[in-house]
């Protein structure tokens, strides 16, 4: 693994490795000294061309907990507003010898361009590009689901996948990179995914995705579900009217108080409600649902730091630049002692 650009090309082995590493990283957050020296002397640049709260803070916290130096860059207030191109910005960073670039960009494919164009030598982590992918969000969602899934099954979560879990992803799939990344990662991990959205908010070609599609949230809930992921209605990307009114959207596709009560009525006591944030309370999720014990919104934020620590550690430690195509050595090799 050289870069983390999307979840479609992430193998099951690598996905499990990231989740397992994140699990060990999460223990660091509970210690007295919340810091590990693993990336001491490495530089991580957060390159944000689009607004973000939790992803940027989360990456910053993750890099700092691993003792890396962090440079934050946002397009506002930088030379980008004077018209500097992505290439020139990236090469400026390269000249400052960044080891990893965390990039969020409004254009789908910008991170892949950065990784594959040869402009820079650093590892590239996609922190959300346009409507394409947001791999660390999908990984932290999967981490949250795996912790829950192994708890109700009473098994150890290390090394486990999500086989048999039923996941609903509800809302604005059309504009959601979170949904896209989740569909592919959850497929890799063996979960069963159903997308629920108004027909206008489903992308062209969704029938080829490895998931089912439904237009009716109540019917989908009644078939039984272990996790419901609500997506934000991305008003800033909506340049046409995709649904008649917000009230109608909330009533048909929002997770409101009635549907919260319905989970109890359906005897789905272990179903969790997820949201990648930021939430539009009252639109796609009601306050009662967002604050209920079923909600994992804050756990997702907490797990985000662990997952991003794992991604940074796995991309930056190990291979020094000379041996790029190196895959991680499986931890079962009995050679622990020899290089020490």
């Amino acid at each position: 693994m050289r870069h983390l650009l999307d979840t479609e090309s992430l193998s099951l082995e690598n996905a499990i490795q990231i989740l397992d590493t994140a699990q060990e990283m999460s223990a660091v957050g509970e210690r007295e000294i919340k810091k590990l020296p693993a990336l001491r002397g490495r530089t991580v640049v957060n390159l944000f061309f689009e607004d973000s709260t939790r992803t940027r803070i989360s990456f910053e916290a993750a890099a700092k907990r691993l003792s890396a130096d962090v440079i934050n860059f946002s397009a506002k207030g930088s030379s980008v507003s004077k018209g500097e191109s992505l290439k020139d910005t990236a090469q400026t960073l390269e000249a400052m010898s960044a080891d990893a670039v965390v990039i969020r960009h409004w254009a789908s494919g910008a991170p892949a361009q950065l990784a594959n164009s040869g402009w820079i030598d650093a590892a590239v982590i996609n922190a959300g590009d346009g409507t394409h992918a947001h791999p660390t969000q999908a990984l932290l969602d999967a981490f949250t689901m795996r912790a829950h899934w192994s708890k109700i099954q009473g098994t150890a979560s290390v090394g486990a996948d999500l086989a048999g879990m039923r996941v609903l992803i509800v809302g604005d799939v059309l504009h959601s990179r979170v949904a896209r990344s989740n569909v592919w990662l959850l497929r890799t991990l063996g979960a069963h995914v159903t997308l629920v959205a108004p027909p206008t908010l489903l992308p062209v070609g969704v029938e080829h995705w490895p998931c089912e599609v439904s237009y009716d949230l109540d019917a989908a809930l009644e078939t039984g579900v272990d996790a419901v992921m609500m997506l934000r209605v991305q008003a800033e990307r909506m340049n046409a009217s995709f649904f008649p009114s917000t009230r109608e959207y909330a009533r048909r596709w929002g997770f409101d108080d009635a549907r919260l009560a319905k989970l109890d009525a359906l005897n789905l006591k272990d179903t969790i409600i997820m949201h990648p944030g930021p939430m539009n309370r009252g639109l796609e999720i009601s306050s009662a649902a967002a604050d209920s014990p079923r909600s994992t919104v804050l756990a997702q934020v907490r797990n985000g730091v662990s997952v991003r620590m794992a991604a940074l550690y796995l991309l930056l430690s190990g291979e020094m630049r000379e041996t790029p195509a190196q895959l991680a050595v499986p931890s079962t090799l009995p050679s622990v002692k020899d290089p020490s």
Binding site: Q17, D20, T21, E24, M25, A27, R31, E32, I33, K35, L36, P37, A38, L66, Y313, L314, S317, G318, E319, M320, Q326, A328, V329, S331, P334, V336, K337, D338, P339, S340
Partner: protein, 203 residues
């Protein structure tokens, strides 16, 4: 050099490397060494008070568990599970950038914490000393023990740091081209039916 390796010397040069291995400690030898180390620890610590064993993954941890059972056998009021823990040092190694990525293992401390305790670090093979240096760094981030000691099953020499073991199962003079492999049933159940320590000649 053993006779077998001397005999195969000629064929080694022109064919694929034949690993010549010889058993230096059998299961019974390991058992006896651990029993002696347990008594040494008891003697040095004058009993079991404020004593914790921390095994370094992966093979240090089962060794620490076995030592804990032996120590607890001398004092019926002590539960072996409460004096043993696991200390992962992966993130503290000085060769992270040069080696292939290592997956971190779990750090589990006894509920009592490590502040003010006497810690005995337990590992299988002491070689360069770099793992132990990393372990000392890892300990500092977890608390402030009163004293830290080191127990190893095998000391093979070739130290690169000013570190020595307090309790050694066996001193094993080796060449740095050789490999010392410790097989424990808890971890290598599939490879070795019994505990053993093996020296493999370098290719």
């Amino acid at each position: 050099m053993t006779t077998s390796s001397a005999a195969s010397q000629g064929s080694q040069q022109n064919s694929a490397p034949v690993t010549v291995s010889r058993v230096v400690l059998s299961a019974a030898d390991i058992e006896r060494a651990l029993t002696r180390i347990a008594y040494e620890i008891l003697e040095a610590n004058k009993g079991l008070s404020d004593l914790l064993l921390l095994g370094i993954p992966r093979r240090g941890f089962p060794l620490a568990q076995r030592l804990a059972v032996k120590l607890a056998a001398t004092d019926p009021t002590v539960d072996p599970a409460t004096i043993v823990g696991q200390l992962d040092v992966t993130m503290f190694r000085d060769d992270l950038a040069q080696q292939p990525t290592r997956a971190p293992q779990r750090t589990q401390l006894p509920v009592s914490g490590i502040d003010g305790k006497t810690i005995v670090l337990v590992d299988d093979v002491l070689y360069s000393g770099r793992t132990i240096r990393a372990a000392l760094d890892a300990l500092v981030d977890l608390g402030r023990p009163r004293a830290v000691r080191l127990a190893v099953l095998v000391d093979r020499g070739h130290r690169e740091l000013p570190i020595r073991a307090d309790h050694v199962g066996k001193n094993l003079p080796t060449s740095s081209s050789e490999k010392v492999r410790v097989h424990l049933v808890e971890i290598d159940g599939g490879i070795a039916a019994n505990d053993e320590v093996v020296i493999e000649a370098g290719a």
